[in-house]
Structure formats: structure tokens, C-alpha cells
């Protein structure tokens, strides 16, 4: 990049930054949907921001003795402790040794999903959504947790259905164990709050 190009980019950045605060809020933007692009194994996936309670990097994970292979342990999120599951294992991929990124789901019993690569944030129009039949065939085993897909940057990104994924996690946990775990989590949450 030459010095002129840098100056031009700097002026464009400044102009766009100023324009962003100058524009009035647009109603049409409500029709847009914000997504996070991640990569699990060799496949790319998308997560709806409205399903996510937070994005975190390099959170310490405390391992627990558990028969569930996908459960990597627990981590604290602003006073709340949430179980951390390996998203790759949940989607049918090989387990990852040390995923750095965590997304915390919304809901009464948030669950942290760990993955290795975070691609970025992007917004789409509703028209960019693709029907489930056109989704990535590689995610066939995780068909139940993948609802839709979206085209972005010339590729097809399956959208992970967080609610379905949480339901799948809950199906992995024995009933009493899940109840105890949920009760303990709720107690801990209330204690912290």
C-alpha cells in the first residue's frame, strides 16, 4: 500500500465513520439479520446473534469428570457458570483439543459452545436465506440442529439452530443429572446476582 492509498483509505474511513453517525435510523434495517460466521473443522457455520448471549475469547475452562465426551467443563460468564460443550463434537465432527472461542446461548439455562475459528460478523437480508434442502451435505448428521443456511462471500453457511442444539444437549444429559445441574446452575446464578 502506497502512502497515497493509505491517505485515501484514511479519508474514506473518516468519512464513513462520520456518515454513520449522521444517518437517521433506518426502519428497513430491521428486516436484516445479524449472524456470526464460525468454522468447525473444515466446515463453515453461522449463528444468529439473537440466539447468543455473548461471545468470548480464551475463557478459562474448568474440566469436570463426566461421561459426556462433548462436555469440556464449566466456565464463568459475568458471575454465572455455564457448561461448555465442544460444538464440533455436537455437530458430528472430531473433538477439538483446545478451542479458544466460546459463544454463550440465551435462555434460562445458557450453555457455552466452544469452537476453534471465528470468521466474523455479517448481516444478511431475509432473501439470502436458503431452504434446508440446500444446506451443506457435510452437516447431514447434524441435520436436526441446522435450521437454515445463508449465502455469504460466495459460500453457503448453514445456520445452527441454537434451541435445537440445546435440546440435543439436554438429551445427552440424564434427567436427574440434568435437573441437578440446572438447579445448581440456577442457585449459583441467583447467588451471584
Amino acid at each position: 500500500m502506497t502512502l497515497d492509498q493509505a491517505n485515501t483509505a484514511l479519508l474514506a474511513l473518516r468519512r464513513e465513520f462520520d456518515a454513520g453517525f449522521a444517518r437517521a435510523p433506518q426502519s428497513a434495517r430491521a428486516a436484516q439479520e445479524n449472524l456470526l460466521a464460525i468454522r468447525v473443522g473444515a466446515d463453515g457455520y453461522a449463528l444468529r446473534i439473537q440466539d447468543i448471549g455473548g461471545l468470548h475469547l480464551d475463557k478459562p475452562i474448568v474440566a469436570l469428570p463426566t461421561p459426556i465426551a462433548e462436555l469440556k467443563g464449566v466456565a464463568g460468564f459475568r458471575g454465572r457458570v455455564a457448561p461448555v460443550y465442544d460444538l464440533a463434537g455436537l455437530l458430528g465432527h472430531a473433538l477439538q483439543p483446545a478451542p479458544r472461542w466460546l459463544v454463550l446461548t440465551r435462555g434460562a439455562e445458557p450453555v457455552a459452545l466452544a469452537f476453534a475459528h471465528f470468521e466474523g460478523h455479517f448481516s444478511i437480508d431475509a432473501l439470502d436465506l436458503v431452504r434446508p434442502a440446500e444446506a451443506n451435505p457435510a452437516a447431514a448428521s447434524a441435520q436436526a440442529v441446522v435450521s437454515d443456511a445463508v449465502r455469504h462471500a460466495g459460500a453457503l453457511w448453514p445456520i445452527i439452530d441454537i434451541a435445537a442444539l440445546v435440546s440435543a444437549i439436554q438429551r445427552l444429559i440424564p434427567t436427574r443429572h440434568a435437573a441437578q445441574t440446572a438447579h445448581k446452575f440456577d442457585q449459583g446464578a441467583f447467588d451471584h446476582e
Partner: protein, 489 residues
């Protein structure tokens, strides 16, 4: 006859034996002739004695005849024979004594004869003197006494005895001559026959022996002449080939001489060029020393450049560390913006305005992150360029070091070149001198080879002559064999 005797010895033996026979025959002949001559001398002497005796008697008769004529006539003219007889009587007696000196009996008779002759002459003288004195009768009386006659008879008897003895001597000489001639004849005939037989046998034996030996020798000569002929032919062929080879060698040596002279000229040019090269090498050595100093200055500048580039690399690393901080801040800002968006989304409509701000913050963070990536790329490029430059500079420094070393080597090489070229100059001069000597030697060799070729040509001619001589010798030996052994021819 010994078979080992030589041809000359055999001939000598034959001739010696034949000569001995001839000498014997000659001696016998000589002896016979000598005996005959001696006998002839004796016969002649005997005849001379007989003649002297007869002459002596006749002389006495003349004296007596003269005495009687004077006595009868008184003529003094008749006394001349008397006087001559008296005068010659002594001489005759002396001659007879001389002639019969070898015969005592004859000497004794001569003594008697001389005595009786003296008595006779005395009687004659007495009568003559009586006659002269005129006493012719007295003288006649004395004559008639026959005293004179008796004396004469006695004298005649002695003379007859002497004549008989001479005749007996003649008969004896004739018998001796006849015996000597017969012995000589017999000896000569026998010796001749023996000599002829010996010569014939010896000649036959010598001829046979010589025929055998000469035949063998001639055979050897013939075979030797044949071998000599073959050798001469071979020698002639070899001489011809040698002459051809010598001519080729002479031509080659001439070319060698020309080449040597060309080499000498080339060596001279090489020496001149080598001297020029020495001068150029010395000049090049000075130039290389200056270049070595310039290389040292370049090396120092390269060290400065390397140090500056290493500083630049460290600064780039520091920029990279700052960029890591900026990138980390951008990532955290991005995460924070995303979480703000999440919170705004969770806040519903109340959070929409905040969502806009969060969106802008996130975009800004994205731009910062992208810019950071660009800057990092730029810094990495700068660091790569710095590293490349440092490596290139170090490589250049090494190249400069190598160049400096090479310059040192080049300077050393120039000095060695100068020394070697000096050696080359000397060697070229030695080559020039040696080549000139070689050319001279080649010329001498060429002359010598030419002489040898001439000698070879003469040898060839001589070989041809030898061949011709050998052929003639072979023909002669064949002729000689034919002469010696006709049946073998």
C-alpha cells in the same frame, strides 16, 4: 701318403722324390760322363805317351840316319838331323817323364832308355868325330861292330815295352769305359723306369687326392658362392631399401630442421610476448593492490549498511509488537462490539440505537483489524525486505570478502604470473637456443644421413658387383668341378 697332407706338401713330396731320382740319375750320368772323360783323358795321355815313345824312337832313327849319311858322304848337311835329334832328345825324355810320372815302371824304362840313348849318342858322336877327323875307316869299323845296332835293339825293346804298357793301359781304359757306360746306361734306365713309376703312382695318388679334396673344396666354394650370391642379393635388396629409407629419413630430417627453425622463431616471439606479459602482470599487480584498497573501503561501507539494516529490522520487530497490541485491541474491540450488538439485540427496540453504535464500533474495529493486517503485511514486507537486504548485504559482504581474498589471490597470482612468465621467458630462450642447436644438429644429421645414403647407394652398387662376382664365382666353381669331376658336371 698321408691324407692330412696339404696339396703343396704332396706336390713337394712328389717333386722332392722325383728330384731325388733325377739327382741320382744325374749323378750317375755325371759320374759316368766323368769316368768316360777321365778314361778319355787317360786314353789320350796313353796315346800321347805312345806317340812320344814313337817320336823318341824316330828321333833316334833320324840321328842314326844323319850319322850314317855323314859317315858315307862326309857331307855336314847330314848332321842336321843328328844335331836336332840330340837337341830334342832331352826334351822328349823330360816330356816322357812328365807324361809317365804316374807309372814307376815307365819311369824305370825311361831311365833305361835315357841311359841307352846316351850310349847311342856317344857311339854316334864318336864315329862322327872320327869321320870329321878323317878317320872314316875307324868310324866304319866301329859301325861294323854292331855295337850301335845292339844299343838300338835294346832301345827298341824298351820302347816296345813302353808301347805295350801303353797299349795295355788303353785296353784297360777301353774295358773301364765300356763297364762305366754299361753301368751308367743300366742305372739311367732303371732310375728312369723307377722314376717314371714313382711319378706315375705319385701323380695318380696326388691327382686322386687332389680331385677328391679339390672336388670337396670346389663343392664348398660352389655352395659358398651360392650362399654368397643369395647374401649379395639380400644385401642388395636391403641396401636398396636402406637407401630408400635413408632418403625418407633425409627428407624427414630436412622437414624437422625447417620445423625446428619455425619453433625457434615461435620461441623468440614467445619470449618477447612473455616480457610484455611480465610488464603487464606488474602493472596488473599494482592495479589489483588499488582495487584491494577499494574493496576494503566497500567492505567497511557494507558493514555500516548491515548494521543499519539490522537496526531497521529491530525497529520493524518493535513495530510488529505494537501492531500486535493494536491487533489485540481491534480484536477485543470487535468482540466488545459484537457483544454490544448481542446486548442491543437482547434489549429489543430500546437497544436499536445502541445497536447502531455497536455496529459502527464493530465496523471500526473491523477496519482497524484490516488496517492492522495491512500494516502488518507492510511491516512484514519491510522486515522481509530488510532481512533480504541484510542477507543480500551479508552475501555482498561475503562476496566482498571473497573478492578481497580473490584480489589477494589475484595479486599473488599476478606476482606468480610475473615470476612464472619470467621463468617462461628463460625457458622460451632456452627453447629457442635448444631449437637452434637442434636445427643445426638436424642439418648435421641430414648431411650425415645423406652421406649414409650415398654410402648405401655405393653399398648397393657394391652388392650388385658382389652379386655379379658371386655369380661368376659360382660359374667358375661349376667349371672347376666339371674340370675336376667331369662325371659330376
Amino acid at each position: 701318403m698321408n691324407k692330412n697332407w696339404t696339396f703343396g706338401r704332396k706336390l713337394t713330396f712328389g717333386f722332392v722324390v722325383s728330384s731325388i731320382f733325377l739327382i741320382v740319375v744325374g749323378m750317375v750320368g755325371y759320374w759316368s760322363n766323368y769316368a768316360l772323360i777321365t778314361t778319355s783323358y787317360s786314353v789320350s795321355h796313353t796315346h800321347k805317351v805312345a806317340e812320344k815313345v814313337a817320336e823318341y824312337l824316330s828321333n833316334l832313327k833320324d840321328a842314326e840316319t844323319g850319322q850314317r849319311g855323314y859317315l858315307l858322304t862326309g857331307d855336314a848337311g847330314y848332321l842336321d838331323p843328328y844335331q836336332s835329334a840330340i837337341d830334342g832328345s832331352s826334351r822328349m825324355i823330360g816330356e816322357l817323364r812328365t807324361l809317365t810320372a804316374d807309372s814307376p815302371s815307365q819311369q824305370r824304362r825311361i831311365d833305361q832308355l835315357e841311359t841307352m840313348t846316351a850310349a847311342k849318342f856317344a857311339e854316334l858322336k864318336h864315329t862322327i868325330e872320327l869321320r870329321k877327323a878323317g878317320h872314316a875307316d875307324d868310324a866304319l869299323k866301329i859301325v861294323l861292330t854292331n855295337e850301335g845296332k845292339v844299343t838300338m835293339d835294346a832301345i827298341r825293346k824298351v820302347i816296345e815295352q813302353m808301347t805295350q804298357e801303353a797299349q795295355a793301359s788303353l785296353d784297360k781304359s777301353a774295358a773301364g769305359v765300356e763297364a762305366t757306360a754299361g753301368a751308367a746306361k743300366t742305372t739311367i734306365i732303371l732310375s728312369t723306369i723307377v722314376c717314371l713309376l714313382f711319378v706315375s703312382v705319385t701323380g695318380f695318388l696326388i691327382a686322386r687326392s687332389l680331385a677328391s679334396q679339390l672336388g670337396a673344396a670346389v663343392g664348398h666354394v660352389q655352395s659358398s658362392s651360392a650362399e654368397l650370391q643369395a647374401a649379395a642379393t639380400q644385401q642388395a635388396t636391403g641396401a636398396k631399401q636402406q637407401a630408400s629409407a635413408m632418403n625418407e629419413i633425409s627428407t624427414t630430417i630436412s622437414e624437422l630442421g625447417v620445423t625446428s627453425r619455425q619453433i625457434a622463431e615461435s620461441a623468440q616471439r614467445v619470449a618477447q610476448i612473455a616480457e610484455q606479459t611480465v610488464t603487464a602482470a606488474r602493472s596488473g599487480s599494482g592495479t589489483v593492490d588499488k582495487g584491494q584498497e577499494a574493496i576494503g573501503a566497500i567492505r567497511r561501507q557494507m558493514d555500516l549498511v548491515v548494521n543499519h539494516m539490522l537496526d531497521l529490522g529491530r525497529k520493524s520487530q518493535e513495530i510488529g509488537a505494537v501492531l500486535d497490541i493494536v491487533s489485540e485491541l481491534a480484536d477485543q474491540t470487535n468482540i466488545l462490539a459484537i457483544n454490544a450488538t448481542i446486548e442491543a439485540t437482547g434489549a429489543g427496540d430500546a437497544g436499536k440505537r445502541f445497536a447502531v453504535v455497536a455496529e459502527e464500533i464493530r465496523k471500526l474495529a473491523d477496519r482497524v483489524a484490516n488496517s492492522t493486517k495491512g500494516i502488518r503485511t507492510q511491516v512484514e514486507d519491510v522486515r522481509g525486505a530488510v532481512n533480504t537486504t541484510v542477507m543480500a548485504t551479508e552475501t555482498g559482504a561475503k562476496a566482498v570478502d571473497a573478492g578481497a581474498r580473490q584480489f589477494t589471490d589475484v595479486a599473488q597470482s599476478f606476482r606468480e604470473i610475473a615470476a612464472l612468465v619470467g621463468t617462461t621467458t628463460e625457458a622460451a630462450r632456452e627453447i629457442e637456443l635448444s631449437t637452434k642447436q637442434q636445427a643445426t644438429a638436424a642439418e648435421q644429421v641430414r648431411v650425415a644421413v645423406t652421406d649414409v645414403a650415398q654410402a648405401t647407394a655405393e653399398t648397393e652398387t657394391s652388392s650388385s658387383q658382389t652379386l655379379q662376382t658371386a655369380s661368376q664365382l659360382a660359374g667358375l666353381s661349376r667349371d672347376l668341378r666339371r674340370m675336376i669331376q667331369p662325371q659330376a658336371a
